[in-house]
């Protein structure tokens, strides 16, 4: 899952180093368009639907947080 997520992220924003960034939302790096695209992409490739209520900065500020979210959603 992790590698696929990385792939998706890099496709959407090739200009960003996702390993280092921990302020993707709060720092204004990802905008709402990117997030929705990301959700659609994850849904398409990983078959995980992220509900609207999970679209909060804490879940998207870093690749790591995002991975955690996906793992949690996958379990449910």
């Amino acid at each position: 899952m992790e590698s696929e997520l990385r792939e998706i992220l890099e496709e959407i924003r090739p200009d960003i180093n996702f390993d280092a960034e921990t302020q993707l939302i709060d720092g204004g790096i990802l905008d709402s368009f990117d997030i929705v695209t990301l959700v659609a992409e994850i849904n398409a490739r990983l078959d995980i639907a992220i509900p609207a209520e999970e679209l909060i900065p804490e879940n998207f500020n870093s690749a790591e947080a995002l991975l955690e979210l996906l793992e949690r959603l996958d379990e449910e």
Binding site: D15, F33, V36, V39, A44
Partner: protein, 522 residues
């Protein structure tokens, strides 16, 4: 009771004294009482709506949270007896009950909001009466309804989403809904952000109080000295005969008025709250320095657009049907198809915002223009980037400034729709920009026929320069913190000058006879 009135200052003075003199435990109660007193000053007529929203939100949130707890307890108790499917079904059922409750409260409240807006602040009515109300500046009407409703509905959804807990004390909820500083022009707070500082006890903190008062002073300056003064010219320039360059001037003036009035009002609200130890969210982040339209909307009326994003844009664009649509689109059209949900979401969000401003075509046009510009600029981003990777600018700063000015002008073109309920007039005027080159209005005396004298223009210029300077200083952090570093005599001098500038130069009261002038225009 307007913030810019002596009555309000007396009210605030009494509140502050009681607030810090009485036991700090009852501070929030005092705020609740003050908020209702403030609301009652505007008339008892709208009180039932406020109370209704409070009660319905209370019932809704508490029902949802009790329902969630009960189902959790049931599952816990029966966890050994139930199969995984049973549990899932039970959970879904519980969630459904919560959803029905939430939707019920939402629908009822939104119905009331639309009903009141349509009936009480319909733009047609205000036009017929001859006072074109500046609808961007009167969004809160009637009586802050939009703001307290957005706030409570956001809270309701948060409880449903399990992001906030339901308040067991209805009076605390009543305070959250009615907190008076934000009742007039916002900002719209999120419960989880406001909760802590709204209900906790606040010790007397001289610095916080001084900072709050200073912020209010700055807000009054922007609103009364700049916005209310330039309003006269904005009003006059809407006349049929002002085209071409005059329309351009109108756009600039309106931009100044809108920002000075709106952000000034927010400064006052945040300042009042700060005096009381409550931290309200920021609503403006130097918006006229934005690089593109999307950026602008992240820095202008921030709390509203956060709200829109959180409760309208995201839910729409990541809903099941949208994701399915995206899957299909992806197969057919590739990258562009995949983004269909984003566009639909954006479109619906902007249309909704436009309609919320008032049931009128020019607001719908406003929403549409915003949507178009954002989508186009988003789509062009890769092209821009390609362009930039090939052509490297020797003058980075120059390009920044170009972007800022371009965004500013583009935004003005969109925002000015607010003034033209008749679309044909708007398009006519915009078109006139391209063929009417009446620059001579700058020196042929037209400018002094707009209701402003030479002195007024000088005051306005000083005000705008000051606002610009403060924006520049802000980049290095809090202006008030930086002011602490200068000698206290100078600091007091500056504050005194500002206070007397507001008193003497503010456009208020009967002396400032703007109405007489406007009257002559029609």
């Amino acid at each position: 009771m307007s913030f810019a009135s002596v009555t309000f200052f007396v009210f605030l003075g009494i509140l502050i004294i009681l607030y810090y003199a009485l036991p700090h435990k009852i501070q929030w109660v005092l705020l609740l009482v003050a908020s209702y007193v403030f609301y009652l000053f505007a008339g008892w007529k709208y009180l039932p709506f406020l109370v209704f929203t409070t009660i319905s939100t209370y019932l809704g949130t508490n029902y949802i949270s009790r329902n969630a707890e009960a189902s959790k307890a049931y599952l816990e108790r029966e966890k050994d007896h139930l199969s995984k499917e049973d549990k899932k079904a039970y959970r879904a059922q519980a969630k459904k009950r919560s959803r029905i409750a939430m939707i019920l409260v939402l629908v009822v409240n939104i119905a009331i909001l639309f009903f009141c807006k349509a009936l009480l602040v319909d733009p047609f009515l205000s036009l017929a009466k001859g006072n074109t109300s500046l609808s961007f500046l009167t969004l809160g009407l009637p009586m802050g309804m939009s703001f307290y409703m957005f706030q409570s509905l956001g809270y309701l959804i948060d409880v449903y989403r399990d992001k906030a807990k339901a308040l067991k004390n209805p009076f605390k909820l009543a305070l959250f809904v009615s907190f008076f500083p934000q009742l007039v022009q916002g900002p719209i707070s999120q419960f989880t952000e406001l909760e802590e500082s709204l209900f906790s006890e606040h010790a007397f903190d001289r610095k916080q109080i001084a900072f709050g008062l200073q912020r209010m002073l700055w807000g009054f300056f922007k609103k009364m000295v700049v916005a209310d003064r330039i309003a006269v010219a904005v009003q006059a320039l809407q006349g049929e005969e002002y085209r071409g360059f005059a329309f351009f001037i109108l756009m600039i003036f309106f931009a100044i008025q809108l920002y000075a009035d709106f952000s000034g009002g927010i400064d006052i609200a945040i300042g009042i709250a700060q005096v009381l130890g409550v931290k309200l969210p920021e609503n403006f982040n130097r918006p006229y320095f934005s690089r593109n339209i999307a950026d602008f909307w992240r820095r202008w009326h921030i709390t509203l657009f956060q709200w829109m994003k959180r409760y309208i844009f995201y839910p729409i664009s990541v809903s099941k049907p949208m994701l399915n649509l995206s899957l299909k689109g992806r197969k057919k059209f590739g990258r562009f198809g995949m983004r269909i949900p984003v566009y639909i979401g954006t479109f619906l969000t902007w249309m909704g915002t436009g309609i919320w401003h008032g049931f009128h075509w020019h607001f719908i046009l406003w929403g549409f223009l915003n949507c178009i510009f954002i989508v186009v600029s988003e789509e062009l981003t890769p092209a821009y980037e390609k362009f930039h990777s090939r052509v490297s600018f020797s003058n980075k700063k120059g390009y920044d400034i170009f972007q800022i000015i371009r965004t500013f002008l583009l935004m003005n073109l969109i925002q000015i729709t607010d003034l033209f309920p008749r679309l044909s007039e708007y398009f006519g005027k915009v078109a006139s920009l391209t063929y009417v080159f009446n620059f001579h209005i700058l020196w042929d005396g037209t400018m002094t026929k707009l209701g402003l004298t030479g002195t007024d223009y000088i005051i306005l210029l000083c005000g705008v320069v000051l606002m610009f300077a403060v924006s520049m200083i802000q980049r290095k952090g809090s202006v008030r913190e930086q002011m602490l570093k200068i000698p206290c005599v100078i600091r007091y001098g500056i504050l005194f000058i500002m206070i007397f500038a507001v008193i003497l130069l503010g456009s208020y009261g009967i002396g400032y006879d703007a109405s007489a002038f406007i009257y002559n225009q029609f």
